[in-house]
């Protein structure tokens, strides 16, 4: 069975956040809710200062702390390794959000679906067609666009990225683009000290 994962090419990423907006479009995310974010971090001292842009999303950990702490069994891992949340089982206890060392979980307050993207208590037609997927009171996160993956497509952020800095595929297939990239350029997972075994890697 496949083990789906992603590689971020830090040299390619320009921090434009098109991925973030592409994700918001694809997944009808409410205001201030993110399945992926691209952060920036300054380093060095003038004039030798620099900045690195760091894409982030759910790392779909093999030893996922969120799954371990979930009291209702809502968080589960698909056969292809994608970590999912079953809204019907989620009781909104927020344990997963506390447990996730990567801060990739977001509680969906009811107010988000009332105030709307424009904050005026009026939902747009876009939101009306999209918000039906969410259950207020549950905790949500990135699912690697599992429906798109099932349809043979790459996640929305991957196809959106202007510089092709996000590379998705089966990490168990040594011929896959992400597997080759991890091998060739020495991919590193985020916060390895947490022993979560992320399926997301960074190459620099």
């Amino acid at each position: 069975m496949a083990r789906m994962g992603m590689v971020f090419d830090i040299r390619r990423c320009i921090g434009c956040n098109a991925c973030v907006v592409g994700c918001k479009q694809e997944n009808s995310l409410p205001d201030g809710v993110f399945f992926t974010r691209t952060l920036s971090e300054d380093y060095g001292v003038y004039p030798n200062a620099g900045r690195v842009y760091i894409p982030t999303l759910c790392n779909h950990c093999e030893d996922a702390p969120c799954e371990k702490v979930c009291p209702s069994g809502a968080t589960y891992t698909r056969e292809d390794g994608i970590v999912m949340v079953d809204d019907n089982k989620c009781i909104g206890c927020n344990s997963c959000a506390v447990a996730c060392p990567y801060d990739q979980r977001t509680a969906l307050g009811k107010d988000l679906f009332e105030k709307g993207l424009f904050g005026e208590g009026e939902l747009t037609a876009f939101e009306e067609q999209g918000y039906t997927r969410f259950t207020p009171g549950t905790v949500t996160k990135c699912d690697f666009c599992s429906e798109r993956v099932d349809a043979g497509l790459d996640p929305a952020c991957v196809v959106t990225c202007p510089t092709d800095a996000r590379i998705f595929g089966d990490l168990d297939d040594p011929e896959s683009k992400p597997a080759k990239l991890i091998k060739e350029r020495g991919g590193r997972p985020p916060m390895p000290e947490k022993n979560t075994k992320p399926k997301v890697y960074y190459v620099t």
């Binding site: 200062a49 679906f113 067609q129 039906t132 959106t160 202007p162």
Partner: protein
């Protein structure tokens, strides 16, 4: 909210995909629009079949849905009922019918035209619709209140027109190995088809190991991604470029063959600065072999001299190249270092790296042609070029490229046309004496000299200018001095927001707006400008309308179709319908049709000409533009979305083969003489204030006047955008807001930490920033990525309160700090200074006026609460 739908992800829901063209900025990236079976647009992606954007869209392009569904969109024509006008005054809109609205606007315009057409002040700024942009020509009006020209490339475009006969330029990402960005984000975050360029540049960097160097006062995206960031004192980029030229010339690191054969660098310049000509006007060169002057086209010519001083007809003369060497003498790396703060050794090293990377002498075979391969390009744009001496500054950057022979060469700096119109049309016109014909007027002809002026922004006195709209304020404040025998009092605005972007204090522009008798605005959403309107003519958005265009594509050519994805949501009209309905009512429909014919190039295929007496829709004009390009009917375009292909290499590389380029711009000697004479003859009262010294055939080291402001203004103020907020407005868009106000560079006035310390300031302090021209307020942030002389202000902090809940005001617009006078305006092109000197004062609290209502800073504080994804 459980769902029965088959899919929850938007792109997979039942519906259809439509090929169209993005319009979240002025460029024309191919898009795919997904419309559900219920008629809702729920996903927009880049069209992978369109090579002009490589299947990619930037964050703005990705957020077009939120513009479409913005609840604040104008939903029907509106008339103001509140006679009081002000930036925050509720116009108390009253819905009216289209007939009422059009009759009202047309009668005001018609009345004014019959009185004096110069009294109309137009601001039409839909850059994807030149047919609409040029509407005022239908009644002979060449005023302009649109801010695009000067806030974009007031001097950049005319100089590109001189050197490449093109509107824009780009480094050739397909072959470049050493990419210099000076004051621009090309290839990373801005300018031409930004998402596609970023894609090509990322590939070049990763796959080919292309080295990037960014020169800029701040650590921009380009600087952050480059191998080297060279911080520079603002408004000194020309000096850096001249320092590079000094080193390259001194160390003989130039493409002398190119300079001799492909440019006018060997043409002999006489004591008066013009070329030495015989009686027939043919120009002389110096033949080194026979040690004599010969005509440039003499078949017996040996090697042409580039250097030396010669005598001809008793006059001392020098090759144009020698004239440049004379200027470069004083441009030592040490002297240029003092001006720019860039270490002399860095200037020397970059000059060497750049010229070595250019591989002077190398060739490449492309489509059967042997071309010089020059894989190094010095690219630049708004930040570097937007200065008082803009013409010279742009020319200096070109010189770095001239010296290595990379102009329009594979890997070098290549001309990018605005819109070729027809696949077989060349943008090059042969000119006199073997040179290309300069085409500085890339947006159409300028009004001729006239006194009294026929334009309120004095365009009559800028023979190679782009519109300098800030000068409308000069003539408004002092019409007698500038000889204005008319007063503009009717404004027509379409897809333009001058009250946001115009430079000079907002308070003054508010007075300017109050002086208007009548203002009509066509737009989609409320802006800083729409609040002043007497009538709103609401237009379709880009997802509801037709268009055919191609705007400034590096590497590609063709036409991109915009087609409606859905029926209009509201009672709106296309821009074309609004303008033709008005034109018919004003009695200028035939004249307008002819303007469209000329601007769109329909005369090249007469069967496409719009006929008198008929009104043409956006769809009909789009269809004709497609037919003009490649004879394909609209149905073909509806299916394919575009006719974009890689640019024909005979048009992309050295399209001027066999002609010579203007290394030395002789017009800069002759034009000011003619202008001075005309001003003298007409006794133009302000002729003594006209800076004829701005006209230089070669760039010089003159300092921009911003460096001479009083010493208490101890910092330089700069303004910047990034890819999320490029070009037009997007801060009202909730998705853009969601990313921009989480980015540290967009949420504070930024100082280098050491500078902050010296100023007694720390992160979070509220300050007043004053220039000699205006003031703003803001909250300080610190970053090591800022030149110590500089205060950096993001465009995200530039909005003032508008009647749109989504728009967050900050502490005033940076452009309030900028001058609007002649002293700081390039007398050649009209380009104003876009850097200012500022002083900071720490305040205990915000001024009262900024405490009311939600500001950017309130939002930033709200967002800092925990529980948001991705904080590790």
């Amino acid at each position: 909210m459980a769902t029965e739908a088959r899919h929850v992800q938007n792109s997979l829901k039942d519906g259809k995909w439509i090929r169209s063209t993005c319009k979240m900025c002025l460029h024309s990236c191919g898009s795919l629009i997904h419309v559900t079976d219920d008629g809702v647009i729920n996903k927009i992606e880049g069209d992978p079949t369109n090579p002009s954007n490589n299947g990619k869209l930037c964050p703005k392009g990705n957020s077009a849905i939120m513009r479409h569904y913005d609840p604040k969109r104008f939903k029907q024509p509106l008339r103001r009922t509140n006679p009081e006008k002000g930036p925050n005054v509720d116009p108390m809109w009253e819905p009216i019918s289209w007939d009422e609205a059009l009759d009202l606007v047309a009668s005001e315009l018609k009345k004014t035209i019959e009185d004096d057409p110069r009294k109309i002040l137009p601001s039409l700024e839909d850059f994807q619709k030149m047919n609409v942009w040029n509407w005022p020509l239908a009644f002979g009006n060449q005023n302009s209140f649109q801010s695009g020209g000067t806030m974009c490339g007031g001097a950049y475009h005319p100089v590109n027109g001189y050197i490449h006969s093109s509107f824009a330029v780009a480094n050739d990402a397909k072959h470049c190995n050493y990419w210099v960005n000076d004051g621009t984000g090309d290839g990373f975050s801005s300018h031409l088809h930004a998402a596609a360029q970023a894609n090509w540049v990322a590939d070049a960097r990763i796959k080919r190991g292309m080295r990037c160097v960014t020169i800029e006062p701040r650590l921009s995206i380009s600087a952050a991604k480059s191998e080297e960031w060279i911080p520079i004192r603002p408004a000194t980029d020309r000096h850096f470029a001249l320092g590079l030229c000094h080193v390259m010339a001194n160390e003989k690191r130039c493409d002398y063959e190119f300079l001799r054969k492909d440019t006018n660098a060997p043409y002999l310049v006489g004591p008066d600065g013009t070329f030495m000509r015989n009686e027939e006007g043919t120009i002389y060169v110096w033949d080194s072999e026979s040690a004599s002057a010969k005509l440039w086209n003499d078949p017996s010519l040996g090697e042409l001299a580039l250097e030396g001083t010669y005598s001809l007809d008793g006059k001392e003369c020098k090759p144009a190249f020698q004239k440049f060497l004379d200027i470069l003498e004083e441009c030592t790396p040490e002297k240029m270092s003092e001006v720019t703060t860039v270490p002399a050794e860095t200037i020397i090293r970059i000059a060497r790296e750049f010229s070595e990377a250019a591989q002077i002498g190398a060739t490449i075979e492309i489509d059967g042609r042997t071309l010089p391969l020059r894989p190094a390009g010095y690219n630049y744009y708004r930040g570097a070029q937007g200065h008082k001496h803009g013409f010279q500054t742009n020319h200096a950057f070109k010189m770095v490229n001239f010296l290595v022979g990379n102009i329009d060469a594979p890997g070098g700096l290549c001309g990018v046309t605005l819109d070729d119109q027809w696949i077989d049309k060349s943008h090059i016109i042969p000119g006199e004496n073997g040179m290309i014909e300069p085409q500085p007027h890339q947006l159409g002809p300028l009004p001729p000299f006239a006194y009294p002026p026929t334009t309120a922004h004095l365009l009559n006195y800028f023979p190679v200018g782009l519109h300098p709209p800030h000068l409308n304020m000069l003539t408004f404040e002092n019409p007698e001095k500038y000889g204005l025998d008319f007063k503009p009092d009717v404004m027509f605005v379409l897809h333009s927001n001058p009250l946001w972007a115009m430079q000079g204090p907002r308070e003054k522009w508010f007075e300017f707006m109050k002086s208007m008798r009548f203002i009509a605005v066509s737009d989609i959403i409320p802006t800083e400008t729409t609040v002043w309107a007497d009538v709103i003519l609401p237009s379709h958005d880009a997802l509801e309308s037709w268009n055919m265009t191609m705007i400034e594509p590096p590497h590609t050519e063709g036409m991109c179709l915009r087609q409606p994805a859905v029926e209009p949501l509201y009672d709106t009209k296309s821009e074309e319908d609004i303008m033709t309905e008005l034109s018919e009512r004003m009695g200028i429909l035939d004249a307008y049709n002819e303007v469209i014919n000329i601007v769109s190039g329909f005369h090249q295929k007469p069967e496409l000409l719009l006929q008198p007496g008929r009104k043409y829709s956006d769809k009909e004009i789009a269809e004709r533009k497609g037919l003009l390009w490649n004879d394909k009917p609209l149905d073909w375009y509806i299916e394919h979305g575009h006719s974009v292909t890689p640019r024909r290499t005979d048009k992309w590389y050295r399209p001027w083969e066999g002609l010579r380029l203007h290394f030395y711009i002789e017009d800069m000697v002759t034009l000011p003489r003619e202008l001075r004479q005309k001003m003298e003859d007409a006794q133009v009262p302000f002729r003594d204030e006209w800076d004829f010294d701005d006209y230089q055939p070669l760039p010089t080291t003159v300092l921009d006047p911003v460096h001479s402001e009083p010493p208490e203004y101890d910092l330089y103020g700069i303004f910047f955008k990034d890819i999320q907020i490029n070009f037009g407005e997007s801060l009202s868009n909730p998705w853009i807001k969601d990313i921009v106000f989480r980015d540290p560079v967009h949420i504070a006035l930024i100082l280098n930490p050491k500078t902050a310390e010296k100023q007694g300031l720390k992160s979070g302090d509220i300050v007043r920033a004053e220039s000699p021209h205006g003031m703003i307020f803001g909250r300080i942030g610190v970053s090591e990525g800022m030149h110590p002389d500089t205060l950096g202000v993001s465009n995200s902090l530039s909005r003032i309160k508008v009647r749109h809940e989504g728009v967050r005001h900050a502490g005033g617009h940076f452009n309030d700090l900028l001058p609007y006078d002649l002293h700081n305006t390039d007398a050649v092109t009209g380009q104003p200074e876009t850097v200012c000197k500022v002083k900071l004062t720490k305040l205990d609290d915000w001024p009262e006026a900024l405490k009311q209502g939600k500001s950017v800073y309130d939002l930033v504080d709200e967002l800092k609460r925990p529980g948001k994804a991705g904080s590790h």
